[in-house]
Symmetry: none
Subunit: 129 residues, 4 copies
């Protein structure tokens, strides 16, 4: 399986994001081994070093840990950590920026409110089911 890489971002960062998402969705659980550098390199048709760089970055963010000679493993708190960080980023940075942008552009607020409320409805339904 090759893959359609986004040209505007380094591949290694895109690989990192892929793994992050897999952790966030629970596809990769705490303690699970990351696929090996070589394996991913072969699968996605990339250079092992590129994969390695991504894996390293994940280790530096304390999301995975290296076990010498065995591979890299998802840290126990990885998912919680990740969720916490991303939520924080959203609430402290992205959302305020969005509000600022809405104001600057003079966007109609009503439709935005509507779509947000629709989203809430959906989420509530999910919980019930």
């Amino acid at each position: 399986m090759s893959f359609q890489w986004n040209d505007k971002q380094p591949i290694y960062l895109q690989l990192k994001e892929l793994v992050k998402n897999r952790i966030l969705t629970g596809d990769l659980q705490a303690g699970d081994a990351l696929p090996s550098v070589r394996q991913v390199a072969a699968e996605y048709q990339v250079n092992p070093i590129t994969v390695s760089k991504a894996w390293q970055a994940l280790a530096e963010e304390n999301l995975v840990e290296k076990k010498r000679g065995l591979g890299m493993f998802v840290m126990p708190q990885a998912r919680r950590l990740l969720e916490q960080r991303e939520k924080n980023l959203f609430l402290e940075v992205e959302w305020p920026q969005t509000l600022q942008r809405i104001q600057n552009l003079g966007v109609e607020i009503e439709p935005l409110l509507d779509s947000l409320q629709a989203l809430r409805q959906n989420t509530d339904l999910d919980k019930e089911s």
Copy 2:
């Protein structure tokens, strides 16, 4: 005055954004001259070529026009054009992404609704005054 440039984006794009914002806020009106390349280069401690590149990019977006020997001037429709484009970008791309992100992260929606409504209040007051 130097400036704190964001390392992750080309300086010329950051310069472009600065001007765009000044147009959006009305700080630069239709027909106003952009500050000269040299002046900006000196002011922001930046290579003149970099400033030039930013000015060019603005011209390519039809926001400013060159007048030979006189400099660059904000186009008459600049603000409207910009608002239109950016509003579109926001509604078609950024806002849907934000909604997606809210859902993925499982962010509480209530507080977001509250802040949006607060924003609407402010905007309404502004219009009255």
Copy 3:
């Protein structure tokens, strides 16, 4: 009991150090048997080969000896040998490096002297008792 391995050093060297320390402190006496490879492997959650490698390294330094079918045993002169070597290493290499580092960093010498003197006091008391 698992263990927190230092990622920057091979596990087998860390195991070796553990045993060396036990010999130096007298916890492992001349003639004592080293715990079996399997046992240690199970205890520390480590590959038996890794333990074996550590035991081999100890044998190569003449600190333990293999007895076929019986296991590995601490050599009679192990402690003396170890002390001699390590003292030498300390006096010839580590201490000079420490002095050099103190000078390079411009560390205050007084407190270091104080702590050394305090250490001497303690050691003297130990001898008397």
Copy 4:
């Protein structure tokens, strides 16, 4: 000029140390440009990527900053930061370990005291001159 690399440590770390030392000794002052990746690569007969890795690591430690298209520059507080960190490392980690080691090995403390005091004398003389 080639160089005698230590085989036991990655070259990029050794390069990093070289720069750190140059900052500590004042050979590289705040605001100075680091020699370019290519230049160093040619000078020391190493791969540009290896140098790059070292420079990156320095940037991540906030000792140098990247200026897009211009190169890497020593941060204003680099020297102070470095001294602080290293002194801290020494006082909190290395020195206690040394004391521990002295005690474990039963090294004679008198000579150590003597050499430390001699060092103090030298340092004092340096200050006077």
